[in-house]
Subunit: 346 residues, 2 copies
DNA sequence: AAACACTAGAAAACCGTTTTCGTGTGGATA
DNA sequence: TATCCACACGAAAACGGTTTTCTAGTGTTT
């Protein structure tokens, strides 16, 4: 086991001073070419790598960015992380991922842990519990210490920082409009409880689309699911007790579970009943029939968030003027919605 | 914006030495009770948090563990990370996640980056490309520097380190046996090319099960998929050109895509054709009919890997005696395989 | 020959904390 | 009263680098 070689080791071996080594490694003209040559060659030979801890301590910069997400086994969040990772790598930053597990206390602990020198800035999607208890002191503290913070998707209105959000309302609006355009009239919605920001926004988009098309809102067709583990029963009940010709779902899972009910009832998709859902992952692509979706460009969101953070870090921009980027969604038509063209031709 | 307060600030304010502050904060009996009292109270007031970088520098420990996985938008890998995170948190460690993107060079770069002081040890699933080019120098270097390394799932035989692997061969064996027991005789396999360790192992398990039951191996029923992006066509061709009454797949995706072909051909699942696949994520649970799977206990794998690493880190065990933990799989029977009971009753 | 410019390298400061090794005060002991 | 020992605290080194300042030596210019 060969220990890590330090600048000091090189200096000793080559019988020069450590400052000479330091300068030579950074190609300073102050050091003669052949000395520089020799030192660099030896350093490479010894497989020397500067200790990043020492450098971090000296420059008070870690070149690490901390990402805190509620869940990692989650297509949207992991895809955002991928985007963050991509851009961070391009700009020479590392990514440290921590999970809040949707818990307020874990979010606080993780932030405090990372804030003490491990990272230069945060990218966060706020935990459900935090949104519920509305306690944002950990965000304020971090900002107060001069550490940049970027929120994405699950954002808090009152916290002053850069934000990246999905255009959930309009995404839902267009999705429901698409159902309307293809001839659907009684549209059920599978959504979440209102304290989940994105669920609320998507529900509002659904309502807006109905309103603009003079379709009456039927309360019985609005299913707000609290507990994701028991969603299957709730969805089944909806299918048993109500009739409708389309389903708009705020996520893939609810939609696919809905499709199961439709299939078992012997209904044809999309002829008898159409489906469209937020989130575009393997699930949508691989189920049969393939699910039409509203894609949120998660990689893009990650990249933008990382961009905002690193710009602030590198340019040392003063803290005034925070911006909120809104990322538009797009609809991917697959097999669970009728073609707009065909319905026009009819 | 209030700057971070250091131990030095406290010393200056209270007009004592920095060593006194350091000791008082750590409750050393060397310091008088009322001084300790005063210093701790003031530190709390100032919201003092020790700088972890400095501590890392001092004790040459970061309390961080680095996880390198090929993909994050991947159910198995992200679930393993969740397991690692869980256990790391219990033991007071942070997790730094880096992605190799299945690329050899990114794997090397990321390891070098993290190895320079950012972390105390590694948990790695080897990238496809690395397995292909068989260049493992970065693993040897890290081990040589005395940094513990734990490999999981995608492991390299020759690298001496702790390992956690799925019992892929037996998992596949039992899965195929299950198909056999429920009356299937012509069983197709959807697998990957042989340089992917787990694909190879699962194929071997398939072969073993057939051999032990005196079922002839039909080469045409073995589909080795290289490029995951074009797998749909390849699978379709198999369904068009061959007949079989069951499919064993090394992952969920291939199976679900296979099911699509069966459904379109109007075949009944599982009566006409059965399906069973490795990996148990939302996909299996939510497709219709729900897919029977071989679950790999990914959280468990993550926990074990983290356990092995942290034990070595905390106990400072000498580097001899590496172990390989084999995690058994289990079969989850859902709707794509016939019930064993029923076939017995028949 | 004196003044000057340049190059190379030695030495020290610095980052925030822990740790080792004093040092001075006071009370107890001889 | 002189010696010893706790006790409470402080000075300084260490961790591993970077950076700055200072010194010494060489060669060129006038």
């Amino acid at each position: 086991m060969s220990k890590k070689v330090t600048i000091r080791d090189i200096a000793r071996e080559l019988d020069v001073s450590i400052s000479t080594v330091s300068k030579a490694l950074r190609n300073m003209k102050e050091i003669g070419p052949e000395t520089t040559q020799k030192i660099q060659a030896f350093a490479k030979l010894m497989n020397y790598k500067p200790n990043s801890i020492a450098i971090s301590l000296k420059n008070r910069k870690t070149k690490n960015i901390g990402v805190i997400i509620p869940e990692i086994v989650h297509h949207f969040f992991s895809t955002v992380v991928k985007g963050v990772e991509e851009l961070a790598e391009e700009r020479g930053y590392n990514v440290i991922v921590c999970l809040s597990d949707e818990s307020f206390s874990k979010e606080v602990v993780n932030m405090e842990l990372l804030a003490n020198g491990s990272i230069d800035g945060f990218i966060v999607a706020v935990a459900k519990e935090t949104m519920k208890v509305k306690d944002y002191h950990h965000f304020y503290e971090v900002i107060d210490q001069g550490m940049p913070l970027v929120m994405f998707d699950r954002v808090v209105e009152n916290v002053l920082c850069d934000k990246v959000v999905v255009d959930d309302l309009m995404g839902a609006y267009y999705a429901v409009n698409h159902l309307l355009e293809t001839g659907c009239r009684r549209i059920a919605i599978l959504t979440t409880v209102d304290y989940i920001n994105v669920g609320k926004m998507r529900t509002d988009g659904y309502l807006k689309a109905l309103a603009e098309n003079d379709i009456p809102v039927v309360e019985e067709l609005i299913l707000k699911i609290e507990d994701i583990d028991n969603c299957e029963e709730e969805i089944q009940k909806l299918f048993e007790n109500q009739t409708f010709d389309a389903v708009f779902s705020v996520n893939e899972l609810f939609a696919v579970l809905g499709m199961r009910n439709a299939i078992r009832q012997g209904r044809k998709i999309p002829e008898d009943i159409s489906f469209i859902a937020f989130t575009d992952s393997i699930l949508s692509k691989s189920v049969t029939p393939a699910l039409s979706t509203v894609t949120q460009h998660a990689v893009q969101i990650g990249r933008i968030a990382a961009q905002m953070l690193i710009n602030r870090l590198d340019d040392e921009i003063s803290s005034d003027g925070f911006s909120t980027q809104i990322v538009k969604t797009s609809i991917i038509e697959r097999e669970t919605t009728k073609s707009t063209k065909i319905s026009t031709f009819k």
